[in-house]
């Protein structure tokens, strides 16, 4: 029964295996006849499937994609997803195969690029993918197999993947779809951040009269802002060694870092000290 349904879902596979003879396909033929051979098959093709998983969304969306192979630097992502998904039983393969509606993946047999730059994954029972130099991309049925379109497709997938991570990073980009609008948002965001940096640096110069003393204020200020005031004392000890090394001239008095009050006095004294210097220069 299982074999029969399998055959029905992929009736073309037999023809394909005949037209494109590969060592893989020869085994497929026997797999159709003998049910016992089904299990090793899904394992191998499962890995082929999984290699596409990171790019699954784009595959279903973009119809115009072509297929093929390309020699590229390996992204270990495919390797890790492959190895992790190998652990799932072969039962997963039929369901995933059926779910891919219109893009009916020919599980047992897929067209491969004619170029010699490909190499097959021999995955029978092996759980781990050895790291390879290039991404293995399998062509799908009904897609062109020349190397240019393959390269194009891989490149497009990479770009859309990056765009998705950028979408998560830039606030308010979840609703935006399409490359142009996304890029618009990204450009705006980067420009905003840059102007913010400018503005904040200007504000800092205006707040601390002498910026060089302000360098020593930084430690105390940062600690007070980051942590709650009761914890200030303890955290101050951690940074004290570095600060004393950097600002030996300023920190003459020994600090007892148990009271926040002491620290406040220290900071205010620095500020006043800074003011004094400023006044002297101005006069």
């Amino acid at each position: 029964m299982a074999t029969f349904s399998y055959f029905q879902n992929y009736p073309h596979s037999l023809l394909d295996s005949l037209l494109f003879p590969t060592p893989h396909s020869s085994i497929n033929l026997t797999g159709f006849i003998d049910q016992n051979h089904l299990h090793p098959l899904p394992n191998s093709s499962l890995v082929e499937d999984i290699s596409f998983n990171p790019f699954l969304d784009e595959h279903n969306v973009d119809r115009t994609e072509n297929s093929g192979l390309k020699k590229q630097a390996n992204t270990t992502k495919t390797a890790t997803t492959g190895s992790s998904s190998c652990d799932h039983g072969p039962s997963a393969i039929t369901t995933t195969g059926k779910n891919r509606g219109r893009k009916a993946r020919n599980v047992s047999n897929s067209k491969e690029g004619v170029e010699g730059r490909k190499s097959k994954k021999q995955k029978r029972g092996s759980k781990e993918e050895p790291p390879k130099d290039y991404i293995h991309v399998r062509a799908r049925r009904g897609q062109a197999t020349d190397s240019h379109s393959l390269a194009e497709r891989v490149r497009r997938e990479k770009i859309s993947e990056r765009m998705r991570t950028l979408q998560n990073l830039v606030p308010g980009c979840d609703k935006v779809t399409g490359k142009a609008l996304m890029l618009d948002e990204i450009i705006n965001y980067v420009q905003t951040l840059q102007t913010q940096v400018e503005f904040l640096s200007m504000k800092l110069t205006s707040i601390s009269p002498v910026v060089y003393d302000f360098g020593s204020d930084l430690d105390g200020l940062i600690l007070r802002s980051e942590m709650g005031s009761p914890e200030v004392g303890t955290s101050f000890t951690n940074t004290m060694p570095t600060t004393t090394s950097i600002f030996p001239s300023l920190l003459d008095k020994s600090i007892v870092p148990t009271h926040a009050q002491v620290q406040v006095d220290l900071i205010s004294s620095h500020l006043h000290g800074g003011n004094k210097i400023y006044v002297n220069l101005g006069s």
Partner: protein, 180 residues
């Protein structure tokens, strides 16, 4: 990927180190000089976090080196400074606009179908945006392919976020301090 607290701390330390360099020279009394000092040291600190692995950091360091070479050399301790400053960045991609425009006009006369035109228009928009992005991200013109550009943008955004967070927290703390 969000900026982590460890990144904040590292950035702060490097920034402080950079500010220390200005400590001896007290004659920078003008606001602009001080602001420049703060901003430049912050930029170099941000770029040095990446330790020369990303393209934008190298380009940023190169850019600040033209403004204040001394600062950059001091901040990047010895070994890296020379290699980073003298590193030859890939050539800038120069497009001669007139030639490009003329060739585009000729191409446009050929494709007439509606769907093709729409696709071509979308492509043009995207190209314009990517060019805009290259202008904004430091070292963008040097990146040849889009994938690299997007990756660099990602990294650059995260670093900018850390920079802004740290600066803002300091400003807030300083303001709270002054109010006392």
């Amino acid at each position: 990927m969000q900026p982590t607290s460890s990144m904040n701390e590292e950035f702060l330390k490097k920034w402080q180190m950079g500010l220390q360099i200005f400590r001896p020279s007290i004659d920078n009394t003008s606001v602009h000089e001080r602001k420049k000092a703060i901003k430049l040291s912050a930029d170099v600190a941000m770029a040095s976090l990446r330790k020369g692995t990303t393209c934008w950091s190298r380009a940023l360091i190169e850019k600040t080196a033209t403004e204040d070479n001394f600062l950059v050399r001091q901040m990047l301790s010895g070994i890296k400074a020379e290699s980073l400053i003298n590193k030859k960045l890939p050539k800038k991609i120069v497009c001669h606009r007139k030639i490009v425009r003329r060739s585009k006009k000729i191409l446009r006369r050929k494709s007439k179908s509606a769907s093709e035109e729409a696709a071509a228009k979308a492509k043009r928009l995207v190209k314009r945006r990517t060019q805009g992005l290259r202008n904004v991200v430091p070292g963008g013109e040097l990146m040849s392919n889009d994938v690299l550009l997007l990756q660099e943008t990602l990294d650059y955004i995260v670093s900018l976020q850390t920079q802004v967070n740290v600066m803002r927290s300091i400003v807030d703390a300083a303001e709270a301090e002054i109010e006392r």
